[in-house]
């Protein structure tokens, strides 16, 4: 019995030594791994005065000399840091093209608009900004444009931006996209598709619509469009009530479109045209254009913004990227089914689409419209909410 206990004790000791080793070894591996070369060095704020000088120098040069000087300075900086909310395939494509054209490597941090803004705001407040440039949609830009963190690009490429090249805070709309009703072509016969926003309230779409639960600003944009076209508030309310009634509320535009293609619902009340184009290119049975190749529903140019940071660690690279994206980059962005800068600013048209300017005031009051949209979806009265 005693011998048995001793053997058992021995087994237990062996087990514990093994357990001890299996605890210590991973710890050592982890701590070694955490300091691995993969780990990026902590960001350090750029020199604002020196950056200002770089930006001023480049902006002040004659147009023909700007690119060459930017390239010369950028090559000494060692790379560009980009923060973006672009889909993975898109940012990989345009950063690869930029590197190919200029030889400047790009490090990219990709996150959703909300996460991206949280990170930038925290880095700005700690004066440890990691980004040289940020490329995100209008809603995201509004969230950080009040921080006095951007500096204006005034190079030759500014011509593509039209009469009003800068939004508040100093960023520009270097591209954009539109919102359109999208339908499943297997489930909606040709000719029966929605041809206006009002059509979405038609009984033929009862129980067939899916709507984006997080798109308060786009709800605002359509409401504003109706109001500007002479509809009364009660008519607008009535239309929305009919649209929302029986609709399938969902989160995530891409996910909505995937399920539309599979036939879970017949119509997305709205989605982004570039998401629809991407699905169409893969063979999904969806469309936002009628048989005549025209998207009959009026649409809006939702800006995709780019900004350079005053505190950038690589200001010449930031300037170079800005310049590149307004020139060679436009073709890459257009290939990804974005509107070009000229289309967003109304200088050029896009075939088959009637595009209106995006109502800035709606985007700037997105929280208010989000609350109204949320109340509508939950079927509760709209309340005056306290200021955030």
């Amino acid at each position: 019995m005693a011998g048995g206990r001793a053997r058992k004790g021995h087994r237990m000791n062996k087990g514990m030594k093994f357990a001890g080793l299996s605890l210590v070894i991973p710890l050592v591996v982890t701590l070694a791994g955490c300091g691995s070369p993969n780990a990026a060095p902590p960001a350090a704020t750029g020199d604002v005065a020196a950056n200002s000088s770089v930006y001023e120098t480049l902006n002040a040069l004659p147009a023909k000399e700007q690119r060459a000087k930017a390239l010369e300075l950028a090559k000494k900086e060692g790379g560009l840091s980009l923060y973006t909310e672009s889909p993975e395939a898109n940012w990989q494509e345009y950063t690869a093209a930029f590197t190919k054209d200029t030889g400047i490597a790009v490090t990219t941090f990709r996150a959703s608009t909300v996460n991206l803004n949280q990170r930038v705001l925290q880095e700005l407040s700690a004066k440890r900004l990691g980004a040289d440039v940020i490329l995100e949609n209008f809603g995201g830009m509004i969230g950080i444009s009040g921080e006095d963190a951007f500096t204006k690009y005034e190079g030759a490429g500014v011509e593509a931006l039209g009469d009003k090249p800068y939004y508040d805070g100093g960023w520009s709309a270097i591209a954009g996209y539109t919102i359109v009703p999208v339908w499943n072509t297997d489930l909606i016969p040709a000719g029966q598709e929605p041809k206006s926003w009002e059509d979405l309230a038609d009984p033929r779409f009862d129980g067939k619509l899916s709507i984006a639960a997080e798109d308060g600003d786009l709800f605002g944009v359509i409401s504003d469009f109706w109001a500007k076209n002479g509809k009364s508030q009660s008519e607008i309310d009535s239309l929305w009530k009919k649209i929302v009634n029986g609709a399938h509320a969902a989160t995530g535009h891409s996910a909505m479109l995937q399920l539309l293609g599979a036939g879970q619902t017949a119509v997305n009340a709205w989605n982004y045209d570039f998401i629809a184009e991407s699905a169409i290119a893969k063979g999904a049975p969806v469309s936002y254009r009628s048989a005549d190749k025209i998207a009959h529903t009026d649409t809006f140019a939702y800006p995709l913004g780019l900004a350079m940071f005053k505190d950038a660690q690589h200001p010449a690279s930031a300037w170079l990227f800005y310049d590149w994206i307004l020139n060679e980059g436009q073709a890459v962005l257009e290939k990804q089914s974005n509107l070009t800068a000229r289309q967003v600013s109304g200088q050029d048209e896009k075939a088959g689409l009637t595009i209106h300017p995006f109502p800035i005031e709606i985007g700037e009051n997105a929280s208010e419209w989000n609350d109204k949209w949320d109340a509508l979806l939950r079927g509760v009265p709209v309340m005056d909410q306290p200021k955030k």
Binding site: L27, V114, L259, T265, S367, N370, V380
Partner: protein, 582 residues
């Protein structure tokens, strides 16, 4: 247990003070003190940020606006609270029932197909919540769900399954959480002396009676820990309620938190107010379970007396149990994984059809395997999962000893603090970490260390529950005997407590490692380029709308983690996960 062996005497001089200090600064005091401080630090950082953010207005002043927005006006707080309770209680009950039954069959019976049963018990844990919900949308959405179109429509001409709404939410969350209960209960059943059941049988009790009247009461601490953990986890889960509840207009607190956090600018005040509501419910739950565990000495089943776990012969029920195991395996594992695998072979998502089957290819896998980022992310995830699991279980083994075994003042506070990260939204935790580590000169921000800290914080509650449940089953007489024979505290802890609680600690290690591997919410905010982890890639696929790439990554993750779990399970055998304490 913490009383000094030398009678304290008042210090009479500087020398006396020094002696007193030396007596108190034992290795035990230093170690325990350090662990308590680390645990408290990890938990307090996000908590302080949450509280400050909740009560601070945009202009920096004090505000209660978040509470009036969250609970007043048109918030429907009562309905949401009710929905949250139904969802949390329902899914916790389902998970507890499934997990306990699976653990009992695994440990205490001679049921066939134990390997299959272990896989059935563990695989849902491996699948990230967002992926598990999506796989069930593929399977059981009312119009094009595979089960509806391929089985119910042809056979019965109807599509009865609808994964959207409360029943679907409870089913998906419950089966997804069942492994948590399984792992907790496996340790408890292994550590149970079957002689008590044998006595019941000899006294004429039927197996079912013995199970209800003897077995379940003996594993009560683990049952209570599992119930609490799953109830609070379900309360704080956001992916499943958002994906499956919102389409039917069924909101829970977390879907409201998600809504507030999606606003630009983020409304921390309202999100914090909702979180504080959850926090209060969690603390009440924790206190209630502490109250239920007040007679913990009654459940100490590991004593100095040797015992040998006895397998219960199922007899004629054996094939039925085997059949049920296969049925559950098919339902909870095979169907969701097959749905993901099918999707991973598509070019664009479509329901099951001959046309779709003719278009299947491995292109998505080729793309993933060709991307260097995938392998770097896998390596980072592996390092972090192993590191976080090891650190968390080391910390919580000692912290749970303080909570369960000592009468130290403030031990409840440690227990409560370690539990709170469970209800702190991931984005709040991420922002809190950014706030702190952007302002320190230590090389943490921009490295994997910030992710390691995030994962350790997130997993503290799980580690504490696993370690505490295991610790509660060990009789205090064993420690007392060791002390009588002159063993130091460290020796007793290392050679008695750790080995005897190793079943629970290894189970906790596996759980924390898996959660760290697939943890997303905080990782998405604090990772840096070059430090991506696999869950970040998964989320990016989801946000880019590629269900196909997402599913391919998911299948890759499931394969790797299944191997990790199998290895950990085999290694765990040497310290008690499989064999128990013989």
């Amino acid at each position: 247990m913490m009383q000094s062996r030398v009678k304290p005497r008042p210090p009479t001089s500087l020398r006396g003070l020094r002696d007193r200090l030396r007596e108190n600064l034992t290795r035990r005091t230093i170690l325990v003190g350090a662990v308590v401080l680390i645990v408290a630090y990890l938990a307090v950082v996000p908590l302080v940020y949450l509280v400050v953010g909740t009560f601070t207005a945009g202009d920096g002043g004090f505000t209660l606006d978040g509470f009036s927005r969250a609970y007043g006006g048109n918030s429907q707080a009562g309905q949401m609270f009710l929905n949250s309770l139904i969802f949390a209680v329902g899914s916790a009950a389902l998970a507890l029932a499934i997990g306990t039954a699976l653990a009992y069959v695994q440990v205490r019976t001679d049921a066939p197909g134990k390997g299959l049963l272990f896989a059935a018990s563990m695989v849902p844990l491996i699948i990230p919540g967002v992926l598990y919900a999506i796989s069930w949308i593929f399977l059981a959405n009312p119009t094009v769900g595979i089960l509806n179109t391929a089985i119910f429509q042809p056979l019965f001409g109807a599509s009865p399954l609808d994964i959207y709404g409360m029943p679907g939410m409870i089913w998906v969350e419950g089966t997804h959480m069942a492994p948590l209960a399984f792992l907790l209960m496996v340790g408890a059943f292994q550590a149970m002396d079957p002689s008590l059941e044998e006595s019941a049988s000899m006294s004429g009790a039927r197996t079912a009676t013995a199970f209800v009247k003897v077995t379940l009461p003996l594993v009560r601490p683990a049952l209570i820990a599992a119930a609490l953990l799953m109830f609070v986890r379900a309360l704080s889960a956001f992916e499943i309620p958002t994906l499956l509840g919102v389409p039917k207009g069924e909101y829970v607190f977390t879907s409201r938190i998600y809504h507030e956090l999606q606003n630009v600018p983020v409304n921390y005040s309202a999100a914090g107010a909702y979180s504080i509501g959850l926090l209060i419910v969690a603390v009440l739950g924790l206190w209630f379970t502490s109250y239920l565990n007040r007679n913990s000495r009654s459940y100490q089943t590991i004593s100095g007396k040797a015992f040998r776990p006895r397998k219960i012969a199922l007899g004629r029920a054996r094939p039925w149990v085997g059949g049920l195991t296969i049925f559950y395996f098919v339902l909870a594992v095979v169907l969701p994984v097959l749905a993901l695998f099918y999707t991973s072979l598509l070019n664009f998502y479509q329901g099951l059809s001959w046309k779709a089957l003719g278009q299947l290819s491995f292109d998505n896998y080729v793309r993933i395997f060709k991307s260097a980022g995938t392998w770097d992310a896998l390596q980072n995830s592996m390092v972090l999962a192993i590191g976080a699991a090891t650190i968390v279980m080391l910390l919580t083994a000692i912290a749970s000893w303080v909570v369960v075994r000592t009468k130290l003042p403030g031990r409840r506070a440690i227990d409560t603090l370690a539990f709170l990260p469970l209800v702190i939204p991931g984005i709040v935790l991420g922002v809190a970490l950014l706030f702190v580590y952007l302002r320190t000169t230590l090389p943490i921000y921009g490295t994997l260390l910030i992710l390691l800290i995030a994962f350790c914080t997130i997993n503290l509650p799980y580690g504490m529950q696993y370690a505490s449940a295991a610790m509660r089953q060990i009789s205090t007489e064993l420690e007392e005997s060791a002390t009588v024979f002159g063993a130091s505290w460290w020796t007793t802890f290392r050679r008695i407590l750790l080995p005897l609680s190793s079943g629970g600690i290894v189970a906790g290690w596996i759980y924390v490692a898996i959660i760290s591997f697939r943890e997303l919410s905080a990782a998405i905010l604090v990772y840096s380029p070059g430090n991506e982890v696999i869950s970040v890639l998964i989320w990016q696929q989801y946000e880019s709308g590629s269900f196909m790439g997402l599913s391919a990554l998911g299948i890759l993750l499931i394969t790797i983690l299944t191997v990790v779990v199998a290895v950990a399970y085999k290694l765990g055998a040497s310290v008690g996960l499989q064999k128990g304490h013989q």
